[in-house]
Symmetry: C2
Subunit: 673 residues, 2 copies
């Protein structure tokens, strides 16, 4: 009794022996295929797999892909990389889920041709082998149409003729004719895996966060959506394309926090926008002092005219005054004394916030209500959500919510604001978050930046996690920013804007260099906007706005900075200098009006002293020839240099500039300075 | 409409919200769980997984395991390793397949106790929290029996009393009582994964290969099974426990190869034993010149009395005179001229061998016949098979054959003789081969030994691949052995015997130092036994037999050398010296009469010159305290030294010894020299 059920073989002919080929270790493959890898419409998805057979036979290896739901596969031959690894790319052309798989089978014609050459070279009699090959050609001809069929049949006829010279088979024309033909051999197909194709802004976005209530131009006034509209030209001039607003909803008064997070508030205190909900409504209402829903719609429209998308904060928690507390008390956790449990991380207490109980027996109604919140704002034109503390809500909820939303609105993006343990952050990305906050905020030394970015921009992490680098947030004023002076702000802006294609700043405090903490050892801003209305002098002489404007322009104009996976670090013999480059990945078909040359960045991490060193460039990563020379244009500071070889000297003075951002181009006659 | 189907959640209560816990990256897990990892009866299987939940709640994480087919799981709590990683071991007690899985859930009592301590330390009022805890204790008491239930109930009662001092909950007794209790929270269980539990010889074996026909004591005589019986005392004295015999079957005469592989044979030439099959029969017959099946049975019995198992060669190929060629011509590939295709790797030809066509339309009958070959020899007491070139036979065949055999005979072991590409070798191990030949034969430099062994003895490879190190085989006389002299043979024996718990030598040519190649640049032995009958002077004065005897004794007496996963390299400041240690893995319950101390090996890789250097020992890996001192006994050369600290000086003269093999023990008063 024989029962043979190999893992994944073709079942074409039950009588035939199982396929001799093996397909293993397909990439991208997230958690053994449980989750979709991340992709972008128009960007190549690089698929790799191990494929081999017993013995020495050569393989024909094919990538197959299709939008999920489509019934027919598109197909492309994969190329061998050596060590039984194969690669091919496919390019998603629509938003949403795609499936792909790898199919391998023996290629009898390629094997035959390879062996024939060895026999001929050894002077062996190949008369019988030529008949074998002619038979294979005739069989292959049955599987193709048109000219190829005719050419194969003609070649087979010639091969059968006495006196045929096998050398004809080793010409380029014959080799091309005989390569990659359909094979009659049994095949093995991998499991199907998935990618989710986002729109390009998932990969490349420049975020600016501001508190709408701090946008009034008159001192003491509560800013409004109309003030935000007036602020849009500033944001647009700086070159940001996502305007992220902290919660815009009514704020509770019960247990409201005072300025600087004081446990009791003065009557004039405005409270934290994250204490969502009051008499004016909850997550689908707007704060009356900001204006009306129509005013909000006007912000979205005015931003859109400037190429800016409005991102809303999705903070799933309630102030004690939120309508849900009254209407759905079962959505909250209660203590034995009947009180609702407020947010805590013992011994820390957040008395102005009630967490939702994702485990409530009434969870289906709660989850539906939370979905409706997203849909409400989608109806108001929002397509990007920055999700507050997703790691304190059930993973299963996000794993349901995000695909549910994207099934109807595949263009919606979610940014996970989870500053927590690494595996938790990665899990959120796997289950659907489009982008993620990162540890960049605290990574300052060269070695840790290199180590962290290497992890983020390579497989497996790069397949599911899209980093979004922020030098600051309303909750995080790092010790480095507190003490490093304006030069540190410049360094952090340069790093964030060039290390990852997605980045953001919390302004205007960032460009204005606010750096005073609430108290020594705290990462909270002194007099932070979380608890009060602020007014900013945007035209301050020492504002970093011109630097941000220039960085954003460079990012827009140079496609290399719009991708993360090509990030390459270059050795430099000074630990205060970091050098890295990016290029447009092979297979990207459309970069619009942007320039496609590689970009090389050298940053002086030391805000206090001039640093110099020799950089040892990986010229292959830059696509230039050291002997012919190449030209580097400094996009940040101006200047143009002709370099030769891989070693070059760099000197950077933090008083002058945080670094170089070089466009790298092969030298042409007469170029360079 | 809500449809929630999280990947792997408990379905206990369909109305309840999905589990908040996540279980990821379970190890061992071979190819996403498609294949069983390797295990050994009595050895601990170290299971690890990532497990975490949203928020800050603490988890209860449980390992569950059972023999495949059993209906009930055994359970054990897993311990947190940090970074959301958990670990526990289980020990298979029977041969065959085991299943295991990881189950995680929120531990509300542990979370509550942790938070309570933080609240108490901060001086907060915990009156209501104590009620919460008492309720949790009462709920947990419902789930346990006996004393624990009573203690929990009593503790809950006390906690509810006014004036209860929470400090009582932080005592060791209370903490122990409240730890690891059954949790009422929804759970997440990983997919089930498998290990295959072999008998201990799968992990620890010492192989000796000899050609039976070369065992006659009289010159010119063809050795017999009776001669092999007479040779057993020699093999036993050397301490080997597996005697591997190349094919013992009738040898074909058609296209028989002559001495040194000559294309034409003299009438007196005996041919290659791998050209299996003649008028006297095929794979289930024995060569008439060796004796009868009864004689073979006597070899198995006599070997068994000496603690030696006979391993047979499973070479699935046929000489042109094999009965199957006549009886089942459809099992072979035919050429258009009607001839059967002999074995080739163009331009190389093996005219004396016909490969079997695993793809034949009659594959079911062929595969069944091949299975019957194995079963035939099992009936004759063979439980170990060395499989010849498994990589030139269909993977699907092995994937069917090995489990089919082991379902009836779970103690049968298969050694894969596949000297081929890395992924092919690993695949064979994944689909069932117990042990595997390796690249050790050609790895000679320190860096490549360290790199290769690090790959082999760590996850993921160590989960499915068991290396068996051979310094030589009948096909491989390495260039190093050809030119390095006796000192090189000693070094290779020492490395093979101590780097991996499974090793073997092809003798007597190994211990007699045969080193002449067929011609310059060849790895074939001159006058090799593959093509002729040889007679050996076993009592040669310069035989390495005493070294092998001593190495095998050390391996038997020191359990550390019987395991591979604890291999640790120690830094030594001389590239000609390599230092490594092994210890008995934690959780091994029975090492018989062997010693359990760690063993430290230092080898001089240079066969020509004395080498010295400072070794920087990883004392934690050796389980000793550098300040208290430790004692190293040289098991190979004698001598005993008291060392302190981690840095020690070593000097090795290749004329005297290839290295040190130190038993490492903590110093006791008065110990050491």
């Amino acid at each position: 009794m024989l029962t043979v059920r190999p893992a994944a073989s073709s079942r074409a002919a039950t009588a035939a022996a199982p396929s001799r080929t093996v397909v293993e270790d397909v990439r991208p493959r997230v958690d053994d295929g449980r989750y979709a890898a991340k992709a972008v419409v128009g960007d190549p998805v690089q698929v790799e797999a191990d494929a081999f057979a017993d013995g020495h036979d050569l393989l024909r290896c094919e990538l197959q892909w299709r939008p999920a739901g489509s019934r027919s596969w598109k197909r492309r031959l994969m190329a061998p990389l050596g060590n039984d690894r194969w690669r091919a790319i496919f390019v998603p052309t629509e938003l949403g889920r795609y499936q792909f798989q790898v199919r391998a089978q023996i290629d009898p014609l390629a094997t035959w041709l390879h062996d024939l050459r060895a026999r001929v070279d050894a002077g062996q009699d190949v008369a019988v082998e030529l008949v074998v090959g002619a038979d294979l050609m005739n069989a292959a001809a049955e599987q193709v149409r048109g000219a190829a069929r005719q050419h194969l049949t003609e070649l087979a006829d010639r091969v059968r003729r006495p006196g045929f010279d096998p050398a004809e088979l080793f010409t380029a024309a014959a080799t091309a004719l005989l390569a990659g033909l359909p094979s009659p051999e049994p095949s093995t197909t991998s499991d199907p895996y998935e990618v989710y194709a986002d729109r390009p802004r998932a990969r490349f976005s420049s975020w600016y966060e501001l508190f709408p209530r701090s946008t009034a131009t008159r001192l003491g006034r509560h800013g409004t959506f109309r003030d935000v509209v007036r602020r849009l030209d500033y944001v647009a001039r700086l070159g940001f394309d996502v305007l992220y607003l902290p919660p815009i909803h009514p704020i509770g008064t019960t247990n409201r926090k005072g300025r600087n997070g004081a446990v009791t508030a003065d009557p004039t205190d405005v409270g934290s926008p994250w204490a969502i909900g009051g008499t004016a409504g909850g997550h689908t209402a707007v704060h009356p002092d900001l204006g009306t829903l129509a005013d909000f719609d006007a912000v979205v429209a005015a931003a859109g005219k400037r190429g800016i998308e409005v991102a809303l904060d999705l903070a799933y928690q309630c102030s004690p005054d939120h309508p849900w507390v009254r209407e759905h008390p079962q959505w909250f956790k209660h203590r034995p004394d009947g009180s609702i449990r407020y947010a805590e991380n013992p011994p820390k207490r957040y008395e102005d916030v009630y967490p939702l109980d994702f485990d409530t027996a009434d969870w289906r109604a709660l989850w539906d209500a939370l979905r409706e919140v997203v849909e409400f704002w989608i109806d108001h034109g929002v397509r990007i959500f920055r999700v507050d503390n997703p790691h304190t809500k059930a993973f299963a909820f996000w794993e349901w919510l995000i695909p549910t939303i994207q099934a109807e609105h595949p263009d919606v993006l979610f940014l996970a604001e989870a500053f927590t343990r690494p595996k938790v952050m990665y899990r959120l990305a796997k289950i659907g978050f489009t982008q993620s906050y990162t540890y960049f905020t605290w990574r300052t030394a060269k070695w840790e930046l290199e180590q962290y970015l290497t992890e983020l921009t390579n497989r497996p992490v790069a397949d599911f996690f899209r980093p979004n680098f922020w030098p600051n947030t309303p909750d995080i004023l790092t010790e480095q920013l507190q003490h490093g002076g304006a030069a540190t702000f410049r360094v952090r802006a340069l790093l964030a804007a060039t290390l990852t294609a997605n980045y953001g700043v919390y302004g205007p405090v960032f460009e204005l260099g606010e750096h005073r903490p609430r108290h020594a050892g705290s990462e909270e801003y002194l007099d932070g906007e979380k608890y009060e209305v602020r007014r900013f002098k945007l035209d301050a002489a020492d504002s970093l706005a011109p630097l941000l404007e220039r960085l954003n322009r460079i990012r827009r104009d140079h496609a290399a900075l719009q991708h993360d996976r090509t990030l390459t670090f270059h050795r430099i013999d000074n630990d205060q200098l970091i050098a890295y480059s990016k290029s447009v990945p092979a297979g990207v078909e459309d970069i619009g009006t942007a320039d496609g040359a590689p970009v090389l960045v050298v940053v002086n991490l030391d805000p206090a002293y001039q640093q110099s060193g020799w950089v040892e460039l990986d010229l292959a990563a830059l696509g230039v020839d050291g002997e012919r020379g190449y030209v580097v244009h400094d996009l940040l500071n101006g200047g143009c240099y002709r370099w030769e070889g891989s070693r070059n000297f760099v000197m950077l003075d933090p008083e002058v500039t945080p670094g170089h951002v070089f466009q790298v181009q092969p030298a042409s006659d007469g170029a360079g300075a």
